[in-house]
């Protein structure tokens, strides 16, 4: 994307004086696609951490961006599309889980290495690191749903206000869930 186009998009998203002015469809598409490039991996990761499989995650994330297009076309608020997307993805995934009565998601089901292990670590040290990793994931998995959601969103860099909007709670309640979640995880690991 050239600089002029990037500037045009930035202005289209952020300028308060055109906050409610409808954007042309081509600009809207570009805004949505730019936002998609920035956020789709994090959103997929969030719903994956909640226990959603890859196909469902694909459906939910794409549906959220199609809704984003509609939201922008209707002149919706453009001040924090990142948080808006998290809220929509969160609600879509909850609806889907309610419909399918999906089982509690699990970070422990997923492979991956949270803690970097030194290249020259001994096999025993690597085993120990793996074990610590598994215990941490199990501890997060065993948290009550809202505490787990709040901790995952926090780990993804959302501010408390954004987490509160996403999960539909007050900021102070979110702070409480985060503190309790950390406390429980700390006790388990």
């Amino acid at each position: 994307m050239n600089e002029d186009r990037a500037m045009e998009l930035a202005v289209a998203i952020a300028s308060p004086d055109i906050e409610r002015r409808p954007l042309p469809d081509q600009i809207l598409r570009d805004v949505v696609l730019e936002q998609y490039d920035r956020d789709h991996l994090a959103l997929r990761r969030y719903v994956t951490c909640l226990g959603m499989d890859a196909d469902a995650a694909q459906d939910v994330v794409h549906e959220a961006f199609v809704k984003l297009f509609g939201h922008l076309a209707a002149g919706g608020d453009r001040t924090n599309l990142h948080a808006w997307l998290y809220r929509v993805v969160h609600n879509l995934s909850r609806n889907r889980q309610t419909k399918t009565e999906a089982s509690h998601g699990s970070l422990d089901d997923l492979t991956g290495f949270a803690e970097p292990v030194a290249a020259d670590a001994s096999p025993e040290q690597k085993l120990l690191a793996d074990e610590r990793e598994r215990r941490l994931r199990r501890a997060i998995d065993s948290l009550p749903e809202t505490q787990r959601e709040c901790l995952i969103l926090r780990a993804q860099g959302l501010k408390y206000r954004e987490i509160a909007e996403t999960v539909g709670l007050s900021v102070s309640t979110v702070a409480e869930h985060i503190q309790r979640g950390l406390d429980a995880v700390k006790g388990s690991v």
């Binding site: 469809d25 598409r29 949505v32 696609l33 998609y36 490039d37 789709h40 991996l41 997929r44 990761r45 994956t48 951490c49 890859a54 995650a57 694909q58 794409h62 961006f65 199609v66 297009f69 509609g70 970070l107 997923l110 492979t111 991956g112 290495f113 949270a114 803690e115 970097p116 990793e133 941490l136 994931r137 997060i140 901790l151 995952i152 926090r154 780990a155 993804q156 501010k159 408390y160 702070a175 409480e176 985060i178 503190q179 950390l182 406390d183 995880v185 700390k186 690991v189």
Partner: protein, 209 residues
């Protein structure tokens, strides 16, 4: 010695403190090794959780952006079609309403309407058919239309106010005395009562002369 609440330490770590809270916390941490230790432990745990979440493998289909572009294009096409259908539906409804009124007017019995001006400027009328072809609703007298079903319920919510050409009324047999001769190309404002079946049941001429 009182120590800081864990919730305060977590919020400090997340940069969620007010300025006042921040000053108090920094003052306490400067003099309390126990709270500094808790703060470091919470920080280390937070980093581990962040790493665990960031290391969660994510399945991404081949060229997902293109999939979204197609989904947006399909969505746009669908909403364009939907808005065209809505517009066409509105237009068809308008035509159907006009046709219904014209048909209703054509099928009217030949009443002779006497128009007289009231004190409030509203024009009222009655028919020379001695009330047999009229009925009252919400204080208004309507000339009944012959093909409507009198057994169906009516309500004032289904009264539509519109301009009705005098010529249509005259063709239907409603002659407006004051203008029967010279003003056949003019319109009058009338309340048209629609029955529950959507057909006009009666007409009440209001003004327009």
């Amino acid at each position: 010695v009182s120590h800081l609440q864990p919730e305060l330490l977590v919020r400090a770590m997340d940069d969620e403190l007010s300025a006042v809270e921040r000053v108090a916390l920094e003052g306490h941490l400067a003099n309390c090794e126990s709270c500094r230790q808790k703060y470091r432990e919470l920080g280390a745990l937070s980093v581990r959780i962040e790493n665990a979440v960031a290391a969660t493998p994510v399945a991404v289909p081949l060229n997902p952006r293109a999939l979204l572009e197609s989904a947006l294009a399909r969505n746009e096409a669908a909403s364009e079609l939907s808005s065209k259908r809505r517009a066409a539906g509105t237009w068809r409804w308008g035509v159907a309403m006009a046709a219904t009124l014209v048909l209703g007017a054509v099928l009217l019995p030949r009443h002779f309407v006497h128009v007289s001006e009231q004190g409030n400027g509203t024009l009222q009328f009655d028919t020379r058919s001695a009330g047999a072809g009229t009925f009252e609703l919400d204080g208004e007298t309507f000339v009944a239309l012959p093909d409507s079903n009198p057994g169906l319920p009516v309500s004032s919510a289904r009264i539509v106010q519109m301009e009705v050409p005098v010529s249509s009324l005259a063709d239907a047999g409603i002659l407006i005395e004051a203008m029967a001769d010279e003003s056949a190309d003019r319109s009058v404002l009338a309340d048209v009562l629609l029955g529950a079946d959507g057909e006009p049941r009666g007409v009440h001429v209001l003004s327009g002369l």
